[in-house]
């Protein structure tokens, strides 16, 4: 018991990849993040859970500066940005460390599947087209869309679009991939295909920060789980602790409601 605790602690202090310090963010007068600290190690799969409106999306979007924090520091892969007064160059450099997979896919509508994946390589990485094409083709094969490379996003199902979104993120060869509820816009029968690809990527050692309501996935794939409520981290730890033996009342209530949910659908 003691030893395993010790091992986990050592693990958590391993190779730090992302570090958020005291992140605060308000929209108008509404405080959404109230001083959040978050650490993600290299190769770690960190899952953020919590009730809707608790600030999970906002926190994730602070990591790649899609949201400008009012206060705090963001460090990704050795590159630190002071939350409030980051320069354009800082923001660009910070963004180029990570990739993001969006709830509503956000594939480039005017680009084909292949072009979607190549885009970041051509523009941000200044790669030559043939090389970018090869990398993109390989990744699209990997997510099972080798046949669809010339389709436009509107021609694909939600699950297919999200798999392109994942390929687009992988192509950048980022230090970490940020996932914001990657399966919550999907029809139930397509959730599995996306989660299984995410598991595969996790198995390959990619650092992942995932906001999700898929508790079974979290139990299965996460190294570390963070429970957020009302703009603060209430509880965090290995999934078996946070998800199976939560200490805090808020966490217990949240999980109870999630587990009970299917009953209502009958």
């Amino acid at each position: 018991m003691l030893i395993s605790d010790y091992i986990i602690r050592v693990d958590r202090e391993g190779d730090r990849l992302i570090e958020l310090k005291n992140i605060k963010k308000s929209f108008k007068k509404n405080p959404v993040l109230k001083g959040v600290d978050l650490k993600v190690n290299k190769g770690e799969v960190l899952v953020i859970v919590g009730p809707s409106g608790s600030g999970k999306t906002t926190l994730l979007r602070c990591v790649n500066y899609l949201e400008r924090p009012d206060e705090g520091t963001i460090s990704v892969d050795g590159f630190s940005v002071e939350g409030k007064n980051a320069s354009k160059k800082d923001i660009l450099n910070l963004r180029r460390k990570t990739a993001m997979v969006f709830q509503h896919y956000n594939l480039f509508k005017n680009k084909t599947v292949l072009e979607n994946v190549m885009e970041g390589l051509l523009v941000a990485k200044k790669m030559k087209a043939p090389e970018a094409r090869n990398i993109s083709m390989d990744l699209l094969q990997k997510v099972g869309l080798g046949e669809k490379i010339n389709d436009y996003p509107t021609q694909l199902s939600g699950g297919q679009q999200q798999r392109v979104g994942i390929a687009r993120a992988l192509a950048l060869n980022p230090s970490a991939i940020l996932f914001d509820e990657p399966t919550s816009a999907l029809d139930p029968e397509m959730v599995g295909e996306v989660l299984s690809i995410m598991k595969k990527i996790a198995g390959e050692g990619m650092t992942m920060v995932i906001v999700t309501h898929e508790i079974d996935f979290a139990r299965d794939a996460a190294d570390h789980v963070v429970f957020m409520a009302d703009g603060v981290i209430v509880e965090q730890g290995p999934p078996k602790d946070v998800l199976s033996h939560p200490k805090h009342e808020r966490t217990k209530q949240f999980l109870k409601r999630l587990v009970r949910e299917p009953e209502y659908e009958i």
Binding site: K88, R96, F102, N106, K109, N110, V123, A124, Y152, P153
Partner: protein, 241 residues
């Protein structure tokens, strides 16, 4: 004598057609420069660039709130005054009389149409979803790259029907170019009509020529819409409701 002298009308067609290049030149050149300036103005407004944003609002309001023919007169009589003021101060010697009517028309119509295009582009850029730019940022693009590669190609497709209407209105509006002394379709027709007292015939000839030009433009624009919007799931191509 027939009420309408068709023979006379037909005989005059080749002469009136000589006005077509003027009409097209004014409309096409104004449209192209209008796209450039309209886009820049739209971006100034969307990104709320200080000073330029306020100036843009004022300019668009003025252009949309005054008749084109009045703008043309103000421009035609204003430019010589402006040059008289600027020449000594900037050490220039541009004679207003040496500027050809076509140049006047091109500049005036560009100023006019750019205001309308700015509004079309502003609303079509705003109509692209915010997630598109965020995705562009997330793959490491700068704002300029995201605009150029992702947002504008989508915005132009959204804008195309309105741009088509605007262009057709522009073609019709060139019939006012006589105000800056350009002799285009309508002006030629009037001159011939005055000579032979055949007003109805000449106005019919002019109207049919305008009509044909506009029809051709409509066809071109609808082809363009199909070609450029190939990535869109269009209402009229979807399965029946």
């Amino acid at each position: 004598m027939a009420i309408i002298d068709f023979k006379f009308a037909l005989e005059q067609v080749p002469e009136v057609l000589k006005g077509v290049p003027w009409t097209l030149t004014i409309a096409i050149v104004a449209m192209i420069f209008g796209v450039l300036f309209g886009l820049l103005i739209a971006l100034c407004r969307i990104y709320k660039i200080p000073v330029l944003n306020q100036l843009s609002i004022l300019y668009i309001s003025f252009i949309r709130g005054t008749p084109l023919i009045v703008q043309l007169y103000v421009f035609f009589y204003g430019v010589p005054v402006l040059l008289g003021y600027l020449n000594p101060r900037l050490g220039l010697s541009i004679e207003a009389d040496n500027i050809s009517p076509l140049i006047y028309a091109l500049v005036a119509y560009t100023i006019n149409t750019a205001a309308y295009q700015a509004e079309i582009f502003r609303s079509s850029i705003n109509a692209t979803s915010a997630g598109q730019m965020e995705a562009a940022y997330s793959v490491g693009m700068t704002t300029a790259q995201g605009l150029y590669r992702i947002i504008l190609p989508q915005a132009i497709v959204i804008a195309l029907p309105n741009l088509g209407n605007l262009f057709i209105n522009l073609i019709k509006a060139t019939s006012l170019a006589f105000a800056v002394k350009v002799v285009e379709i309508l002006a030629i027709s009037k001159i011939i009509a005055n000579d032979g007292y055949r007003f109805l015939e000449m106005y019919l000839v002019a109207s049919i020529i305008y009509w044909v030009i506009c029809l051709v433009c409509e066809i071109i624009f609808s082809k363009l819409e199909k070609k450029m919007g190939r990535f869109e799931a269009r209402m009229d191509l979807k399965a029946p409701a």
